[in-house]
Subunit: 162 residues, 2 copies
Protein backbone atom coordinates (compact mmCIF):
# COMPACT_ATOMS: atom_id res chain seq x y z
CA UNK A 1 0.00 0.00 0.00
CA UNK A 2 2.95 2.33 -0.41
CA UNK A 3 4.05 2.77 3.17
CA UNK A 4 7.64 3.27 2.03
CA UNK A 5 7.06 6.79 0.81
CA UNK A 6 10.17 8.76 -0.03
CA UNK A 7 8.70 12.24 -0.40
CA UNK A 8 6.10 13.18 2.16
CA UNK A 9 5.31 16.83 2.80
CA UNK A 10 5.98 16.47 6.55
CA UNK A 11 9.61 15.59 5.78
CA UNK A 12 10.00 19.15 4.50
CA UNK A 13 8.43 21.18 7.30
CA UNK A 14 10.90 23.53 8.99
CA UNK A 15 12.32 22.04 12.19
CA UNK A 16 10.44 24.56 14.36
CA UNK A 17 7.13 23.26 12.98
CA UNK A 18 7.94 19.55 12.93
CA UNK A 19 6.86 18.71 16.48
CA UNK A 20 3.20 17.90 15.88
CA UNK A 21 2.04 14.85 17.85
CA UNK A 22 0.25 13.63 14.74
CA UNK A 23 2.68 14.34 11.94
CA UNK A 24 5.86 15.90 13.30
CA UNK A 25 8.97 13.94 12.40
CA UNK A 26 10.75 15.34 15.49
CA UNK A 27 8.10 14.28 18.04
CA UNK A 28 9.42 10.96 19.27
CA UNK A 29 6.14 10.05 20.96
CA UNK A 30 3.89 10.92 18.01
CA UNK A 31 2.24 9.09 15.13
CA UNK A 32 4.54 10.35 12.35
CA UNK A 33 1.76 10.57 9.76
CA UNK A 34 3.26 11.18 6.31
CA UNK A 35 1.22 12.60 3.43
CA UNK A 36 2.06 12.38 -0.26
CA UNK A 37 0.59 12.80 -3.71
CA UNK A 38 -0.96 9.89 -5.55
CA UNK A 39 -1.97 11.45 -8.83
CA UNK A 40 -4.31 14.33 -8.01
CA UNK A 41 -5.23 12.92 -4.62
CA UNK A 42 -3.34 12.90 -1.37
CA UNK A 43 -2.68 9.79 0.70
CA UNK A 44 -1.64 9.06 4.28
CA UNK A 45 -1.21 5.47 5.42
CA UNK A 46 -1.02 4.50 9.07
CA UNK A 47 -1.41 1.33 11.08
CA UNK A 48 -2.81 2.15 14.54
CA UNK A 49 -1.04 0.67 17.55
CA UNK A 50 -2.77 -2.02 19.63
CA UNK A 51 -3.52 0.53 22.39
CA UNK A 52 -5.50 2.75 19.97
CA UNK A 53 -8.67 0.94 20.92
CA UNK A 54 -12.29 2.11 21.04
CA UNK A 55 -14.09 -1.12 21.84
CA UNK A 56 -11.70 -4.11 21.71
CA UNK A 57 -11.09 -5.02 18.07
CA UNK A 58 -11.87 -1.55 16.74
CA UNK A 59 -9.84 1.61 16.27
CA UNK A 60 -10.25 4.61 18.56
CA UNK A 61 -12.23 7.41 16.92
CA UNK A 62 -9.87 10.04 18.23
CA UNK A 63 -7.05 8.37 16.31
CA UNK A 64 -9.13 8.44 13.13
CA UNK A 65 -9.93 12.10 13.76
CA UNK A 66 -6.22 12.79 14.27
CA UNK A 67 -5.36 11.03 11.02
CA UNK A 68 -7.95 13.07 9.12
CA UNK A 69 -6.74 16.27 10.78
CA UNK A 70 -3.04 15.93 9.93
CA UNK A 71 -3.85 14.43 6.54
CA UNK A 72 -5.85 17.62 5.92
CA UNK A 73 -3.11 20.07 6.87
CA UNK A 74 -0.53 18.00 4.98
CA UNK A 75 -2.76 17.85 1.91
CA UNK A 76 -3.27 21.62 1.96
CA UNK A 77 0.49 22.12 2.23
CA UNK A 78 1.06 19.77 -0.72
CA UNK A 79 -1.54 21.58 -2.79
CA UNK A 80 -0.34 25.12 -2.15
CA UNK A 81 3.26 23.98 -2.62
CA UNK A 82 2.33 22.48 -6.00
CA UNK A 83 0.42 25.62 -6.95
CA UNK A 84 3.61 27.54 -6.21
CA UNK A 85 5.52 25.23 -8.56
CA UNK A 86 7.07 22.90 -6.03
CA UNK A 87 7.02 19.25 -5.04
CA UNK A 88 8.34 17.59 -1.87
CA UNK A 89 12.04 16.91 -2.30
CA UNK A 90 12.88 19.83 -4.55
CA UNK A 91 14.55 21.76 -1.73
CA UNK A 92 11.88 24.44 -1.30
CA UNK A 93 10.32 24.87 2.15
CA UNK A 94 6.56 24.19 1.96
CA UNK A 95 3.85 26.28 3.62
CA UNK A 96 2.59 25.12 7.03
CA UNK A 97 -1.16 24.91 7.64
CA UNK A 98 -3.25 24.59 10.78
CA UNK A 99 -6.79 23.29 11.16
CA UNK A 100 -9.70 25.71 11.39
CA UNK A 101 -12.36 23.00 11.53
CA UNK A 102 -12.57 19.24 11.48
CA UNK A 103 -15.64 17.16 10.72
CA UNK A 104 -15.66 13.38 10.96
CA UNK A 105 -18.44 10.93 10.18
CA UNK A 106 -17.82 7.46 11.55
CA UNK A 107 -19.50 5.19 9.03
CA UNK A 108 -18.45 1.75 10.25
CA UNK A 109 -16.49 0.29 13.12
CA UNK A 110 -12.85 0.39 11.96
CA UNK A 111 -11.04 -2.92 12.51
CA UNK A 112 -7.69 -2.95 14.26
CA UNK A 113 -4.57 -4.63 12.93
CA UNK A 114 -4.73 -3.40 9.34
CA UNK A 115 -3.25 -0.28 7.71
CA UNK A 116 -5.64 2.65 7.37
CA UNK A 117 -5.49 4.63 4.16
CA UNK A 118 -6.68 8.24 4.13
CA UNK A 119 -7.39 9.51 0.61
CA UNK A 120 -7.90 13.24 0.18
CA UNK A 121 -9.35 15.55 -2.44
CA UNK A 122 -8.13 19.12 -2.07
CA UNK A 123 -10.01 22.24 -3.08
CA UNK A 124 -8.80 25.83 -2.87
CA UNK A 125 -11.16 28.24 -1.14
CA UNK A 126 -8.59 31.00 -1.40
CA UNK A 127 -4.77 30.78 -1.39
CA UNK A 128 -4.55 30.70 2.40
CA UNK A 129 -7.63 28.54 3.01
CA UNK A 130 -8.21 25.06 1.59
CA UNK A 131 -10.84 22.36 2.01
CA UNK A 132 -9.86 18.70 2.13
CA UNK A 133 -12.43 15.93 1.76
CA UNK A 134 -11.02 12.67 3.09
CA UNK A 135 -12.09 9.05 3.01
CA UNK A 136 -10.51 6.55 5.40
CA UNK A 137 -10.32 2.93 4.30
CA UNK A 138 -9.42 -0.21 6.26
CA UNK A 139 -8.40 -2.65 3.56
CA UNK A 140 -10.98 -1.66 0.97
CA UNK A 141 -13.79 -0.82 3.37
CA UNK A 142 -14.75 2.84 3.72
CA UNK A 143 -14.93 3.39 7.49
CA UNK A 144 -14.95 7.18 7.93
CA UNK A 145 -15.32 10.41 6.01
CA UNK A 146 -13.78 13.71 7.03
CA UNK A 147 -13.68 17.34 6.03
CA UNK A 148 -10.94 19.70 7.12
CA UNK A 149 -10.73 23.43 6.56
CA UNK A 150 -7.03 24.25 6.76
CA UNK A 151 -5.55 27.74 6.87
CA UNK A 152 -1.99 28.96 6.51
CA UNK A 153 -0.54 29.11 10.01
CA UNK A 154 -1.34 32.52 11.50
CA UNK A 155 1.21 34.53 13.43
CA UNK A 156 -0.71 33.86 16.67
CA UNK A 157 0.98 30.45 16.64
CA UNK A 158 4.42 31.96 16.99
CA UNK A 159 3.87 32.86 20.63
CA UNK A 160 1.45 31.49 23.23
CA UNK A 161 -1.60 33.70 23.65
CA UNK A 162 -2.23 35.43 26.95
CA UNK B 1 -11.04 22.85 38.93
CA UNK B 2 -12.42 19.64 40.30
CA UNK B 3 -9.94 17.13 38.93
CA UNK B 4 -10.51 14.88 41.93
CA UNK B 5 -13.85 13.61 40.74
CA UNK B 6 -15.29 10.69 42.61
CA UNK B 7 -18.13 9.71 40.32
CA UNK B 8 -17.31 9.79 36.64
CA UNK B 9 -19.41 7.80 34.18
CA UNK B 10 -16.35 6.02 32.76
CA UNK B 11 -15.73 4.44 36.17
CA UNK B 12 -18.98 2.54 35.68
CA UNK B 13 -18.57 1.17 32.16
CA UNK B 14 -18.52 -2.64 32.03
CA UNK B 15 -14.96 -4.00 31.92
CA UNK B 16 -15.36 -5.19 28.32
CA UNK B 17 -16.06 -1.61 27.23
CA UNK B 18 -13.47 0.16 29.39
CA UNK B 19 -10.50 -0.10 27.01
CA UNK B 20 -11.00 3.10 25.01
CA UNK B 21 -7.72 4.93 24.39
CA UNK B 22 -9.44 8.18 25.28
CA UNK B 23 -11.55 7.29 28.28
CA UNK B 24 -11.08 3.63 29.19
CA UNK B 25 -9.94 3.13 32.76
CA UNK B 26 -8.33 -0.20 31.78
CA UNK B 27 -6.21 1.15 28.90
CA UNK B 28 -2.88 1.78 30.58
CA UNK B 29 -1.59 3.84 27.63
CA UNK B 30 -4.66 6.05 27.26
CA UNK B 31 -5.81 9.48 28.42
CA UNK B 32 -8.29 8.32 31.08
CA UNK B 33 -10.77 11.13 30.40
CA UNK B 34 -13.43 11.19 33.12
CA UNK B 35 -16.79 12.88 32.64
CA UNK B 36 -19.18 13.99 35.36
CA UNK B 37 -22.21 16.16 36.02
CA UNK B 38 -21.83 19.75 37.10
CA UNK B 39 -25.44 20.85 37.53
CA UNK B 40 -27.14 20.30 34.19
CA UNK B 41 -23.91 20.37 32.25
CA UNK B 42 -21.23 17.75 31.84
CA UNK B 43 -17.54 18.36 32.48
CA UNK B 44 -14.29 16.62 31.57
CA UNK B 45 -10.98 18.05 32.75
CA UNK B 46 -7.66 17.01 31.30
CA UNK B 47 -4.13 18.38 31.22
CA UNK B 48 -2.41 17.36 27.99
CA UNK B 49 1.05 15.85 28.22
CA UNK B 50 4.08 17.79 26.93
CA UNK B 51 4.26 15.59 23.83
CA UNK B 52 0.69 16.55 22.80
CA UNK B 53 2.08 19.39 20.72
CA UNK B 54 0.78 21.04 17.56
CA UNK B 55 3.23 23.90 17.15
CA UNK B 56 5.54 24.19 20.20
CA UNK B 57 3.59 25.85 23.02
CA UNK B 58 0.18 24.80 21.74
CA UNK B 59 -1.95 21.69 22.16
CA UNK B 60 -2.36 19.17 19.35
CA UNK B 61 -5.74 19.47 17.63
CA UNK B 62 -6.17 15.71 17.54
CA UNK B 63 -5.99 15.65 21.34
CA UNK B 64 -8.67 18.32 21.54
CA UNK B 65 -10.81 16.35 19.08
CA UNK B 66 -10.29 13.23 21.21
CA UNK B 67 -11.32 15.09 24.35
CA UNK B 68 -14.50 16.36 22.68
CA UNK B 69 -15.23 12.89 21.30
CA UNK B 70 -15.01 10.97 24.60
CA UNK B 71 -16.60 13.85 26.49
CA UNK B 72 -19.50 13.48 24.07
CA UNK B 73 -20.03 9.76 24.51
CA UNK B 74 -19.56 10.08 28.26
CA UNK B 75 -22.07 12.94 28.42
CA UNK B 76 -24.64 10.95 26.44
CA UNK B 77 -24.15 8.01 28.81
CA UNK B 78 -24.62 10.32 31.81
CA UNK B 79 -27.77 11.80 30.32
CA UNK B 80 -29.48 8.56 29.36
CA UNK B 81 -28.46 7.05 32.69
CA UNK B 82 -30.06 10.01 34.50
CA UNK B 83 -33.17 9.76 32.32
CA UNK B 84 -33.39 6.14 33.44
CA UNK B 85 -33.24 7.25 37.06
CA UNK B 86 -29.60 6.58 37.78
CA UNK B 87 -26.44 8.45 38.71
CA UNK B 88 -22.82 7.26 38.63
CA UNK B 89 -22.06 5.38 41.82
CA UNK B 90 -25.53 3.96 42.44
CA UNK B 91 -24.48 0.50 41.28
CA UNK B 92 -26.42 0.43 38.02
CA UNK B 93 -24.45 -0.21 34.81
CA UNK B 94 -24.77 2.80 32.48
CA UNK B 95 -25.40 2.63 28.73
CA UNK B 96 -22.35 2.78 26.43
CA UNK B 97 -22.39 5.16 23.47
CA UNK B 98 -20.23 5.44 20.36
CA UNK B 99 -19.67 8.45 18.12
CA UNK B 100 -21.60 8.82 14.90
CA UNK B 101 -20.14 12.21 14.01
CA UNK B 102 -17.66 14.67 15.46
CA UNK B 103 -17.33 18.33 14.52
CA UNK B 104 -14.63 20.58 15.95
CA UNK B 105 -14.01 24.26 15.39
CA UNK B 106 -10.60 25.40 16.54
CA UNK B 107 -11.17 28.98 17.64
CA UNK B 108 -7.81 29.88 19.16
CA UNK B 109 -4.42 28.26 19.61
CA UNK B 110 -4.73 26.24 22.84
CA UNK B 111 -1.83 26.85 25.24
CA UNK B 112 0.00 23.89 26.72
CA UNK B 113 0.67 23.41 30.40
CA UNK B 114 -2.78 24.25 31.75
CA UNK B 115 -5.82 22.02 32.41
CA UNK B 116 -8.40 21.95 29.64
CA UNK B 117 -12.04 21.97 30.70
CA UNK B 118 -14.67 20.57 28.35
CA UNK B 119 -18.18 21.72 29.23
CA UNK B 120 -21.08 19.97 27.55
CA UNK B 121 -24.77 20.59 26.96
CA UNK B 122 -26.68 17.43 26.16
CA UNK B 123 -29.83 17.20 24.06
CA UNK B 124 -31.88 14.09 23.32
CA UNK B 125 -32.61 13.47 19.66
CA UNK B 126 -34.23 10.17 20.51
CA UNK B 127 -33.45 7.73 23.34
CA UNK B 128 -30.62 6.05 21.48
CA UNK B 129 -29.23 9.20 19.81
CA UNK B 130 -28.01 12.30 21.62
CA UNK B 131 -26.34 15.56 20.61
CA UNK B 132 -23.65 17.10 22.78
CA UNK B 133 -22.46 20.67 22.28
CA UNK B 134 -19.10 21.18 23.94
CA UNK B 135 -16.90 24.16 24.72
CA UNK B 136 -13.25 23.63 25.58
CA UNK B 137 -11.59 26.19 27.83
CA UNK B 138 -7.92 26.70 28.72
CA UNK B 139 -8.05 28.63 31.95
CA UNK B 140 -11.03 30.84 31.09
CA UNK B 141 -10.31 31.20 27.37
CA UNK B 142 -12.67 29.46 24.97
CA UNK B 143 -10.33 27.66 22.55
CA UNK B 144 -12.55 25.17 20.71
CA UNK B 145 -16.17 24.22 20.16
CA UNK B 146 -17.40 20.75 19.32
CA UNK B 147 -20.53 18.87 18.44
CA UNK B 148 -20.88 15.12 18.84
CA UNK B 149 -23.75 12.93 17.75
CA UNK B 150 -23.55 9.86 19.97
CA UNK B 151 -25.55 6.67 19.54
CA UNK B 152 -26.04 3.69 21.79
CA UNK B 153 -23.37 1.17 20.86
CA UNK B 154 -24.72 -1.02 18.04
CA UNK B 155 -24.23 -4.77 17.98
CA UNK B 156 -21.74 -4.42 15.12
CA UNK B 157 -19.20 -3.45 17.76
CA UNK B 158 -19.41 -6.80 19.42
CA UNK B 159 -17.44 -8.53 16.68
CA UNK B 160 -15.03 -7.12 14.06
CA UNK B 161 -16.71 -6.65 10.69
CA UNK B 162 -15.52 -8.63 7.67
Amino acid sequence: MGENVLKAIQDEYPDDFAWCYGCGRLNEHGHHFRTFWQGDQTVTIYTPSPEHTAIPGFVYGGLIASLIDCHGTGSAALALHRKNGHEPGDGETPPRFVTASLNVQFLKPTPQGVPLKAVGTVEEIHPKKWKIETEVYAKDVLCARGEVIAVVMPKTFLQPSQ
